[in-house]
């Protein structure tokens, strides 16, 4: 995974198959970045994700909940069909805003800076 931040927006570029095998490492990496970086909004780029299950979604939703209290917003981008399917099923697509690209997400959530 790669994590970038632009202003108040953190973009996490996830990779591969996100399941129990990687969930602990993913949680730690995201929590570490959230502590280190002065960000409010969270964007997940799924472009390089071929599979995610409810264990993986739990990690992602859990990180969003951490920033939601402080008014943080939640963006997703790069949804291939199997990923879109479970984001829909889980209700995440009703909470998160979907963007056409990480760049768009940063512009829209970051307030056009």
């Amino acid at each position: 995974m790669e994590i970038d931040s632009v202003g108040e927006v953190m973009v996490a570029r996830l990779q591969g198959e996100i399941d129990l095998k990687v969930s602990d490492a993913l949680r730690e990496a995201l929590d570490g970045a959230l502590e280190r970086l002065p960000v409010r909004h969270l964007v997940f780029d799924f472009e390089c994700v071929s599979f995610i299950d409810s264990t993986g979604l739990g990690v992602i939703l859990g990180r969003y909940k951490k920033v939601a209290g402080a008014g943080g917003k939640f963006g997703v981008t790069g949804l291939h069909p199997p990923v879109r399917r479970v984001l829909e099923l889980s209700g995440i697509l009703r909470i998160a805003q979907e963007f056409n690209s990480p760049g768009e997400a940063v512009r829209m959530l970051g307030g056009g800076a």
Partner: protein
């Protein structure tokens, strides 16, 4: 019955993917659609993760058994553990019910959504067996 297999493995996180790959390669023998294959992989992932996390409490030395049976137009997949079992299966299957506050409680809901039918047999203290079935759209 066209074909069947039985896969046993240790309750380690990396074996969720092993189960997914094996079931997908098995199901692929009857030429399912990509979406059907994704559904089957998703359902297997949920059931195997549950066996490891809930059944064995993340202890890596339990045995998980995945079985698959292919019929001409359907697949049946079962996932079994000899772990702690489920006290109340009906409650466990409710959307967003989880005994782990860190989890979403959506595993069984996903299995329902991905497959045509699912049933779980569980004996507290002895283990759990989930059986799922999916009909393939006929394209022949």
């Amino acid at each position: 019955m066209l074909n069947r297999f039985r896969l046993e493995f240790l309750s380690r996180p990396e074996n969720v993917g092993l189960a997914r790959v094996t079931v997908a390669a098995f199901a692929a023998q009857v030429d399912p659609t990509l979406e059907e294959l994704d559904d089957i992989k998703g359902a297997v992932s949920e059931a195997v993760a549950n066996a490891i996390i809930h059944g064995y409490g993340n202890s890596p030395d339990g045995i998980v058994v995945v079985e698959g049976v292919l019929y001409g137009d359907a697949i049946e997949v079962s996932v079994e553990d000899s772990g702690k079992g489920i006290e109340n299966v009906a409650q466990a299957m409710e959307p967003e019910f989880s005994t782990d506050p860190e989890r979403l409680g959506l595993g069984f809901s996903f299995m329902h959504a991905f497959m045509d039918s699912i049933s779980a047999d569980s004996v507290p203290g002895r283990g759990t067996r989930v059986v799922m079935r999916k009909q393939f759209a006929s394209r022949h």
